[in-house]
Symmetry: D2
Subunit: 350 residues, 4 copies
Amino acid sequence: MNFASDNTSGAAPDIMAAVTAANAGYAKSYGADALMDEVRGEIRRIFDAPEAAVYLVATGTAANALSIACLTQPWGSVYCHDTAHAEVDECGAPEFYTNGAKLVRIPGDHGKITPAALDTTIRATAQGVVHGVQRGMVTITNATEAGTVYSAAEVAALCDVARGYGVPVHMDGARFANALVSAGCTPAEMTWKAGVEVLSFGGTKNGCLGVEAVVLFDPKRAWEFELRRKRGAHLFSKHRFLSAQMAAYLKDGLWLRLAAHANAMAARLSAGMSALPGGSLVHPTEANAVFAAWPRAGHKAAMTQGAAYYLWPHDQSEDGPGDQPLSARLVCSWCTTEGDVDAFLAAARG
Amino acid sequence: MNFASDNTSGAAPDIMAAVTAANAGYAKSYGADALMDEVRGEIRRIFDAPEAAVYLVATGTAANALSIACLTQPWGSVYCHDTAHAEVDECGAPEFYTNGAKLVRIPGDHGKITPAALDTTIRATAQGVVHGVQRGMVTITNATEAGTVYSAAEVAALCDVARGYGVPVHMDGARFANALVSAGCTPAEMTWKAGVEVLSFGGTKNGCLGVEAVVLFDPKRAWEFELRRKRGAHLFSKHRFLSAQMAAYLKDGLWLRLAAHANAMAARLSAGMSALPGGSLVHPTEANAVFAAWPRAGHKAAMTQGAAYYLWPHDQSEDGPGDQPLSARLVCSWCTTEGDVDAFLAAARG
Amino acid sequence: MNFASDNTSGAAPDIMAAVTAANAGYAKSYGADALMDEVRGEIRRIFDAPEAAVYLVATGTAANALSIACLTQPWGSVYCHDTAHAEVDECGAPEFYTNGAKLVRIPGDHGKITPAALDTTIRATAQGVVHGVQRGMVTITNATEAGTVYSAAEVAALCDVARGYGVPVHMDGARFANALVSAGCTPAEMTWKAGVEVLSFGGTKNGCLGVEAVVLFDPKRAWEFELRRKRGAHLFSKHRFLSAQMAAYLKDGLWLRLAAHANAMAARLSAGMSALPGGSLVHPTEANAVFAAWPRAGHKAAMTQGAAYYLWPHDQSEDGPGDQPLSARLVCSWCTTEGDVDAFLAAARG
Amino acid sequence: MNFASDNTSGAAPDIMAAVTAANAGYAKSYGADALMDEVRGEIRRIFDAPEAAVYLVATGTAANALSIACLTQPWGSVYCHDTAHAEVDECGAPEFYTNGAKLVRIPGDHGKITPAALDTTIRATAQGVVHGVQRGMVTITNATEAGTVYSAAEVAALCDVARGYGVPVHMDGARFANALVSAGCTPAEMTWKAGVEVLSFGGTKNGCLGVEAVVLFDPKRAWEFELRRKRGAHLFSKHRFLSAQMAAYLKDGLWLRLAAHANAMAARLSAGMSALPGGSLVHPTEANAVFAAWPRAGHKAAMTQGAAYYLWPHDQSEDGPGDQPLSARLVCSWCTTEGDVDAFLAAARG
């Protein structure tokens, strides 16, 4: 009953097998391995983007921070949601990689930015006035940190606003697969067709050991990205081990199947939590994370039985009346089982 | 016959097996995995350093740049050899991570800094004068980029000079194991007992997939290191896969056996190259890399038979008289075989 | 009728005379001039701070950004008011000088942070959790950007909160003199006795040509400040011209007289604006700036007669019903006359 | 007898008078003052560069560091002479402003880079290889730190080399006026006609209080420069006081007359030092600084009589045989008199 995060899961068997297989013999280093050619071709095919530049790094923060640094000047605003990983969970990596750009927070229900809020925020920038930080770029997260999903149309609406101000859009897709299977559109529709210029295309949380692709749909910043990656110390010498993960992840739609499974487990869990006495959802469940509230007694019972998850927000007290609801985040992954879900539901009932 | 680099090799079987084994079940993320406890304990034991702080990253450049950033202010000098990886091969990662410290190059034969040269260079710093960059830190590479090795006494002599100026010392040990088995001293003697404060302890080149430990013998900068690592996007979520590599690498002295093998192969190759007609060594062979010169005709023959290696320096012409010597770097690794060496020697004979 | 800013005024006659006088003969450069000794001694005397380190720069942004950089790590939070100059009007200078610290905005009426709001904000920092930006420092502005003033007791209350979290406090005193004469306390009470560690002590807006002192009450960061100043290109070679301004500014309480005059003019203007038909104050007038609203027709009349000032916020339309109030900022300075004020009041009546 | 530096002199009377005159009344701030329009027009006229963007800052280091930051990426090489002010005397300001570019030193006699040395150095850059820092920009100093001068043809030859590699050229003209009157060419010939893209056009050392113009002959980076200037805290609010200095400096060729005088004094001093018993020149005297060696006894005598100057290099001992020559730098300025020179020559004779 581990719902602490999708990163407490290991790697899917096919992906681990591919890493092992990639170990045979010598291979060119620093991204010149043959597997990387395969990955590049496959991502271009999947995204219907034959010109896209594709690179691999090992962490989501690296994918985001490097992407953001390619899209804004140091004196630019990075428009993001209040709860964006880049704002909250990267210890200032975007500020470090951009040499001091300013993250400008946009509030919004259920982890999502609305076009109106984005428009208001960008418009408030002191563009053209030397005293203020200028317009930089937009980063949106899909699936969001609240477990919700922007549809392709919603992404397009945000990109339209950004384009009106001449501002590029990055998508933090640490859970891109979960978003995509939820939204039911194509990878191209969710990204470049909607106006996204750079995508952090996550693998780690969805069954890889540690790999994220960065997809630059407009390859004009490709060489800059390569230099930033190296300078940031994110270029792997034995790069084949990143390539192998990503190749296996993409092969025969494995990435989509893993995400569909995680989403299905979250749906099952979400339905169960709603039905609990005193249970309710904090956010709609649209991807692989459930944000629910239920009575403190149920939390105690679940924890006693070894369930792992985080109260969300973290600072709620575990002490207090048993019937008082506490909210929590419950994350499902490619390896969550129906048994896990059902056992958790039984436990949380108190 | 792949002598291009030790990073064109894969991972040693035991290490790959450990990664696979580590995949079972759930594990705490971001370095809280049980395997990391094991690694920390083992490194402290090996280095006889019970207080040392130990962290893992995936690239050597990350290990170096983060270590250097912990040891100097932005307005500090980073004293290093002319050929140091940090100076030549990291695309300015040290400058990026330090926010603009100045790498001060020190020439020296065979990749090594002499105490006298270090003393002269540090003394020339405009210490205490606000117009100039101040003293920062020293970084030495062992084994060096020239395939030579500092003995523990030589390291101590450099550290003594540095200490006289109040300057801490970092060791880039991307090939630490190769240096250690060559020098025949203990890990402690080679590092903190000699005066090294922070070590980049390499795994990748010596049989891992991609892992380097950073060992801070004085743990006072441990938390700073953790923040810099996260902010640099080098903290792995599925950290167990780094831990597993390092745990297997250290287990039962595997790291030393792998390095001893690589060094032995280099010694065999070195002896053979010296004995070639027209062959000579550019640097003494003390670790796992051979720097040799031999006639251009022998290069052509070797390349024709599929040998992979780099001319060193790179800008020598492949065209010209057949008996003119060209120099090259030939790197052996844990997986180089006697057959590889002998086949290469036969080919290079022309 | 120029109320655009206190920086549209020139220099007070005594200060200009001092600059001219300082031009005689040779003088040591880079801050070793004799006048700087005088300035240092005088500031220490005025602030009853015999150990304070004192430095001069030429712009308020330099004073702030350098001070902030001395008080936080790159991964620190810089707690400031929503409207702080450092947040709004410095084009990201604090981010640049700190190498990417995060400005954390705190809302508050009339430009002021309350202790409760500061406490809530600091407490929300993910201190000790590596994923988040850590606690850094607090910067408060006195007089504020809203023309209000923190009393010494209010400053002390904020510093107490900060101290409880181990966080140092900087005061942006671009208009320190105006705040001081308004608050009626001593310089020491307003600063180090209340808990302020570093002060940007403004001269430019209050009658100098361009000089700000930075006062480090705890001199432990003095040398770091000197290096940051030089590295930031803010160390003047012909430093005597900064020293001369500051020396004259401080001499015989000139700085206080200039500020008292500006405040008095603002009080006169404020009273008049309140009494205008349709007029009202947006913020209390406690220093040298008046934030008032009055009918659009009155704005048109004032502008027609050549009055200079800014609508505040800037984005109000000048077109619309004549009786609709628009708000504006009106800044008085050392050279504002009663005639200017009365003429403006007459004009703004419409 | 003050030859310590041209920055120990004050301001020329006309320039001080202009500052005083500029103090009358209100003026727009932040560079929107009418005097700045005048300055911009005059510099465009003088340089025959009607499109040039012109900005003022107060220090030479600011002019250089901001210019360099506009001309290179963070991962670029900044090619400069071993003794360049940017390398030696700015405490890493170029590294700070560029976010970590690498200064690549080029040796050369008498403070000058030769085209061949520049070519060799640029060619050695690992351009296009992601592991190394890339080509960035060239900065040359005229007059040099050795008191020598590049002719317009020599500047053009360097720029030709740089252009061949696609690398822009900056000129550190802290002593531009001294170089120009020495070289006897037009400002345009010395700069953009030769291929210089950005000029730091010094005023401070040649009779101003503290002002340097940055001239961007290609205005495409003008807005970037403005943002970098503000973000670096170098945009003056009471900007008129910078404008006034520069306007007076340029008026009726004052800048050229001041420099011609300083150069003439240096020539007189140089001739005298050559003729001293045991005296010799270390570098040819081509601008306003004399680098000479003469017996230690003569140094003692000069110092005893109050002469101010620096031994060059600094680390020569003042103790030792009286007839042993020590080398020194002697800088003349707009206010050096023939009497100063002759008194010094008499004293140095020992």
